[in-house]
Symmetry: C2
Subunit: 401 residues, 2 copies
DNA sequence: TAGATTTTGTTCGACTCTCGAACTATATTC
DNA sequence: GAATATAGTTCGAGAGTCGAACAAAATCTA
């Protein structure tokens, strides 16, 4: 039960019932395909005649197509319906420091084409470069009906102005990506923070949070980001800044964070934090003294994980420390919104067997309330950020308005 | 844009449009009364003929009544419409340790009658006593059409089982209040955590969070509770446990909390924490040693606030310490869900002039992101918990399904 | 003072949509 | 070949909104 938004009233017309039921049917086809009209009627509760009318319309508009004929122990054989994935396509962009991924995806979220370009230092130059790539991509597939462009960004997006704000990793300042891209391509552009994009991926394509309507995604990379879904809907917060758990102090006298605050969670539990800590302990171990750092090259986080697999004790100690701090921060996430599921995204999940027990030990110590939050690790090779960018556009057709 | 809940499909029938538009009109009358049919058509966007049909129905069902005739510079005079507050009434209950308040409220949330009984030690005995009071109340006003009973409780309510769980202040264990009360009165019973009930009060009757759809209410009393509204809707979380910011550790080596964890926020910022600290500093000051506590009687929190007004330096220091810790915890609330407004509820708000500047100093130190959360103090004499209990029932008629 | 103008509120026919019964189509079983 | 079962279509009844036309009631203007 939600309060009506009286500043944005949407009254129902005679077409509203069709709009709602059409979305019901389209969603059922999406999730249950292949499915017959009779089954659609059974699991939606609509009359068979109504389902026929709606599917006729959906087939005419090419969202749905008829497929194989099924067979039953007796009676007339049903005609199966499928989502017509060729109906339209969406462009997804995963913008991050260093590299930016572009993909073309069909209605089911499957990638049809993919490329990767380097992310420029200066936003204006990069936007022009991005526009050129988009134009080439669109021209290469002129027969496709493009539904829009979704972008996941390493920062927050103000829901009012749709500008990129608070993206310290990019160091771009406040940038308007939407307007130039829309003007150049003629397509609608939607942007969302990467962690929230991962949450959308789970909401729309997810296996692990199947049917969950309250969950959080925690991305662990250079920093830590949290995206939240509450009541089946994204949590934006003021200026789009909800989910900045990464910048909550967990130690008042801790090291300074790039945000200006002291002892933020991500100063202890991010990939960068782990690399810093590893450098500190390994240099200390070698020379017996502190402050000899910088003489050996810092490993990448992937290097660190490889060292753990090779049995390096200092690397292992570093990852275990990271697991403890991850647990401490996840305890905050759990206590605040009590999600059914937390999905952990990042390279760190490849060391899950080392992480999980220590992380849970820390969480159980801190969460003394009788709730049952599951924590699952996501396979980062499935590109959840990029798929979330696609979901950003697809939800317009499958979501409730 | 939210995802459809495929486990709980609600298709649209031919009456759905009327149901939606009826709620639109009813809400507009509630918030804009007195208002004419023509104005309703203008601000809803519906046709005048449709508004007439809907209002006719609402008048017939006694939700709305015609009132005075307005006057305009020219043209036919409009007939004003009002909410018919006598149409129905709601019983609100504020259950808390020690005392429980009962109230009868009309459709606008105004109290018609009120009483207070002592909260029993044993749930079963108390429930029977409560039933007797409810029966007497209902019999005393037999002409009223009762819509239901809303209860705000000092704990959390599992949205699935509707049982009271995690209420350490009551020490009742897991109790089913709903079933016996529904059986005894024949009315539907809804329960909600007190902090969330306060948030509902603000959502439906609020002046300060006017039109806000994302905010949090923080109740400071024996402990600290947080209730959240996101996208105009309550946040439940798993087992109804969302909002337990009060039990997030802010100091790993802090004193033990009654929840079992160490250094929880409420161990530092609650009324009880302030009383404990005052006792410690005033006894130390007197004897020069610690651990002489218990020899003088502990003041109530209201006593402490009076001492501040009287210029007692140790009481002032105690309240300022409380303000610092409140700021620290509010910073967590801000960073996590980025609310537009935080509403602070509790006796502590009577010392707002001492609290506010110190609290903000702490928040500004910790929140280095460009958001604009307002923090306002609520007048606890308006009984937000009790009015939230009423809102719990009223939202069924005014909210969106 | 009569007609023009303006605004409120109602009436009515056209259109959209769902429901549900009846009907057609197609399969298996006895 | 008749009975039975299931899928999908057709069609009329009922509920709703829209929008134009109309009725009602007030002020303005000549």
């Amino acid at each position: 039960m939600r309060k009506m938004d009286l500043n944005n009233i949407r009254v129902a017309t005679s077409e509203t019932a069709r709009d709602i039921n059409r979305r019901v049917v389209l969603n059922l086809i999406r999730t249950h395909q292949p499915i017959s009209r009779a089954d659609l009627a059974r699991c939606s509760g609509l009359q068979r005649s109504t389902v026929s009318a709606i599917t006729e319309q959906l087939i005419e508009e090419r969202w749905v197509r008829e497929g194989a004929i099924g067979h039953l122990p007796r009676g007339r054989k049903p005609t199966f319906l499928h989502l017509n994935t060729d109906r339209a396509a969406v462009i997804g962009i995963n913008l991050r420091p260093g590299r930016t991924d572009l993909a073309l995806a069909d209605l089911s979220g499957r990638f049809l084409a993919q490329q990767s370009i380097s992310t420029g230092e200066h936003p204006k130059v990069f936007i022009n470069e991005l526009i050129n790539h988009l134009r080439t991509l669109i021209k290469a597939n002129p027969q496709i009906d493009y539904e829009g462009i979704g972008i996941s960004v390493p920062g927050r997006v103000d829901p009012k102005t749709q500008r990129l704000i608070f993206a310290p990793n990019l160091n771009w300042g406040e940038v308007d990506l939407k307007t130039p891209l829309e003007r150049a391509t003629g397509l609608t552009v939607e942007m969302e923070n990467a962690a929230t994009a991962c949450a959308l991926t789970e909401l729309w394509f997810g296996q692990q949070a199947e049917g969950a309507r309250n969950f959080a995604t925690v991305t662990v990379s250079e920093g830590i980001g949290v995206g939240m879904i509450v009541n089946g809907e994204r949590v934006y917060g003021n200026s789009g800044l909800a989910g900045e758990f990464g910048h909550i102090s967990i130690q008042d006298a801790g090291p300074q964070c790039r945000c200006g605050n002291l002892g933020c969670w991500e100063v202890f539990a991010s990939n960068n934090a782990a690399i810093d800590h590893y450098m500190q302990v390994s240099v200390n171990g070698r020379s017996g003294k502190a402050s000899t750092r910088g003489q050996i090259a810092a490993p990448s986080f992937e290097d660190l994980l490889r060292l753990v697999e090779q049995g390096n004790l200092k690397a292992l100690e570093t990852v275990e420390r990271m697991a403890r701090y991850l647990g401490q921060g996840l305890a905050m996430v759990i206590m605040s919104i009590a999600p059914d599921i937390i999905l952990l995204v990042g390279e760190v999940t490849t060391a899950w067997s080392h992480i999980e027990p220590i992380m849970w030990q820390e969480i159980n110590k801190r969460c003394r309330i009788p709730l049952k939050t599951k924590i699952v690790s996501s396979d980062h090779t499935t590109q959840p950020r990029l798929r979330g960018a696609v979901a950003l556009i697809l939800q317009k057709h499958f979501g409730l308005p």
